[in-house]
């Protein structure tokens, strides 16, 4: 009696879980599935398997340009964000900077402020300074967005690296800079890589800020999709979606695997 009731309960929970997952992942699965549809309308029923939409995507110059822009923007954002993030974390964790807590809060704040507000604020500020929109401005915006993530990850790792290890290196004759390069940075590497990856994927995904900041004529992948959707739903978009999913899911997984491998050989 108890047993069947228990089983029923577990069954219900199982069903509920499956429904939640379906709700979350079915739309994505549909996009991926339809991107291989041979039909010229991006909808069911499927008439056959084909990669023709990937081919047209490859030949679509506007999309490819947007794709290149997004990659360059993402990479630059990642490099600048991790560099700034590592330096800021070092200062905040290793040195007693006056107002350390305030600075940390300010650096983390962009996560808490709604993106639209931040986007408008930066735009108005630059307008006030009479600086026009440009790729550099777009890049700056993305750095502001992604910096908190890098700082959070790097700071957590830095706290776990004991000061003793650095002091040992110093006592053995390494200068502070050599100590950083040969001890601190290698130990920090998993966090730096994770931070960089975060920065790249966030930048690659971003649409709100990008819409506000991008100068005319420059499109990133999300803004390009957005403008394409205004006309019609082309099956190309499904193909593009599939590529983006592969990138944004695949890259972090790759990074995770790399970090795990590094951990295995170097300890942590």
């Amino acid at each position: 009696m108890m047993r069947t009731r228990l089983n029923l309960g577990w069954g219900a929970i199982r069903l509920y879980t499956i429904l939640v997952y379906m709700f979350m992942f079915l739309p994505i699965a549909v996009v991926v599935l339809l991107s291989f549809n041979a039909n010229q309308f991006g909808s069911f029923p499927m008439t056959g398997l084909s990669t023709r939409w990937f081919e047209t995507l490859w030949q679509n110059e506007t999309i490819m340009r947007a794709f290149r822009t997004s990659i360059v923007l993402g990479l630059l954002t990642a490099v600048i964000s991790t560099t700034l993030g590592v330096l800021a974390s070092l200062a905040l964790v290793r040195y007693s900077v006056p107002g350390r807590n305030l600075i940390t809060t300010l650096l983390i704040a962009p996560i808490l402020v709604p993106e639209v507000v931040l986007a408008v604020a930066l735009l108005l500020f630059l307008n006030f300074l009479q600086i026009g929109k440009s790729f550099t401005l777009l890049l700056m915006g993305h750095v502001i967005f992604t910096l908190p993530f890098v700082i959070l990850v790097v700071q957590a790792r830095l706290v776990s690296i004991k000061r003793d290890v650095e002091e040992a290196a110093l006592s053995l004759g390494a200068s502070p800079r050599q100590t950083f390069m040969s001890v601190t940075l290698p130990l920090l590497m998993p966090a730096v890589a994770a931070g960089g990856l975060f920065a790249f994927t966030i930048s690659f995904d971003d649409i709100t800020g990008t819409l506000f900041w991008k100068p005319g004529g420059i499109e990133t992948v999300p803004t390009q999709i957005f403008s394409m959707l205004r006309n019609s739903i082309s099956p190309e978009i499904n193909a593009l979606g599939t590529v983006i999913i592969a990138l944004t899911v695949g890259l972090p997984l790759l990074g995770l695997a790399l970090a795990r491998r590094m951990n295995k050989t170097s300890g942590g």
Binding site: L170, L172, G173, V183, T265, S266, G267, G268
Partner: protein
């Protein structure tokens, strides 16, 4: 010339004085221990010698050269930490070679020195392993090898045995002393463990609350504590208030209520100058319990009551009462200890006693 010499150094953190004005000379090749409870300033002193902290006042010299403004990486010191502080991303051999990379040592020379160092710490086959694949004791040996392979002017050890298991700690103690004697490096050792300090040191500096309480050989600080703090910190001591009856030749008379009159060697009470309040210090293991009915011998005797017994296997710690005095005694036992409530005779020798001036103890400051 002293290997390390501290002259009037003071360390303040804000308004808190961690180390009060102290001077210290450490002889070339000696093993010197800074001993004291946590917060006594011993680690602060070590870190000032290392260059990890700046002295607020005073001068620090190593081999006669002023070091105050020399950064740590130019001081040529070996530093060993409580938690090993090995580089987790480098192999054992790379860890040991680390310091040599900054010293213009050729590749072949480095390899040879690393092998020698591994040999010295008796772990010749572990060069290719990573630190986390080693036990705590092995890691500490590697840390030691890494510190001595650079042939430092001074070896600084910050509680290096405290993270190890009790048994391992004793082995490492012997090992550490063997290696230190073999290479003859001047060593400053920081510990809160009196056993380690007594077993390993040529000289012990007992510290409390940022002040030096006593400097001396292990025998000196153990047998003739210069203050109540030292007497209490190094093993269990009984401290009884009484009166000095004055000095006669090289002997000192002492009167303690409920005790027979004592005559102790003058050398055991160097701080007492004449008649006045005084304190008798006698170690717990120097008080021997015998049955009340035992015949008198050449020792002094006083009647006592056993109030409590702490059985420790080969020995027992007794809590005793003699008149108004509460005493402790630690005796080896053969079969079973005296029981609680037993009336016993307490025997001890006057030459095992020492005396301090009464009333002005350091702790009271």
């Amino acid at each position: 010339m002293s290997a390390v010499s501290l002259t009037n150094i003071v360390k303040q953190f804000g308004t808190f004085t961690a180390v009060h004005r102290m001077s210290l000379d450490i002889a070339q090749g000696s093993f010197v221990t800074l001993l004291g409870p946590s917060g006594c300033g011993k680690t602060t002193t070590l870190r000032m010698i290392a260059g990890l902290l700046d002295a607020t006042e005073g001068e620090i010299a190593i081999n006669g050269k002023r070091m105050n403004d020399v950064p740590i990486h130019k001081r040529n010191l070996g530093l060993v930490f409580q938690n090993y502080a090995l580089f987790p991303h480098k192999t054992v051999a790379e860890n040991i070679a680390f310091g040599l990379n900054y010293r213009n040592v050729s590749k072949e020379e480095t390899q040879r020195k690393v092998a020698d160092a591994l040999e010295l710490v008796q772990l010749p086959d572990l060069g290719a392993r990573y630190p986390k694949e080693l036990s705590g004791g092995q890691q500490q040996r590697i840390a030691l090898a890494r510190a001595i392979v650079i042939e430092p002017d001074v070896l600084l050890l910050d509680e290096p045995l405290s993270a190890l298991d009790a048994n391992l700690r004793e082995d490492m103690r012997v090992e550490l002393k063997r290696i230190q004697q073999r290479i003859g490096v001047t060593t400053v050792f920081v510990t809160h463990d009196q056993t380690e300090a007594l077993a390993m040191s040529d000289q012990i500096i007992v510290m409390s609350k940022g002040r030096v309480e006593q400097v001396g050989s292990p025998e000196e600080v153990y047998n003739s504590p210069a203050s109540e703090f030292v007497a209490q910190f190094l093993g269990a001591s009984n401290i009884l208030s009484g009166t000095s009856l004055g000095i006669q030749g090289d002997e000192l008379g002492l009167q303690i209520i409920d005790f027979p009159r004592l005559v102790i060697p003058r050398s055991r009470a160097p701080q007492i100058t004449g008649v006045g309040p005084a304190k008798l210090v006698i170690r717990a293991e120097k008080l021997h319990l015998v049955p009340k009915t035992a015949p008198a011998d050449d020792r002094l005797a006083v009647a006592a009551t056993v109030e409590n017994v702490d059985y420790q296997g080969q020995s027992a710690r007794y809590f005793l009462r003699v008149g108004n005095h509460a005493l402790q005694a630690i005796n080896m036992i053969e079969d079973h200890p005296f029981e609680t409530g037993a009336q016993v005779s307490l025997r001890f020798r006057a030459k095992d006693c020492s005396a301090l001036p009464g009333g002005t103890s350091h702790d009271a400051q």
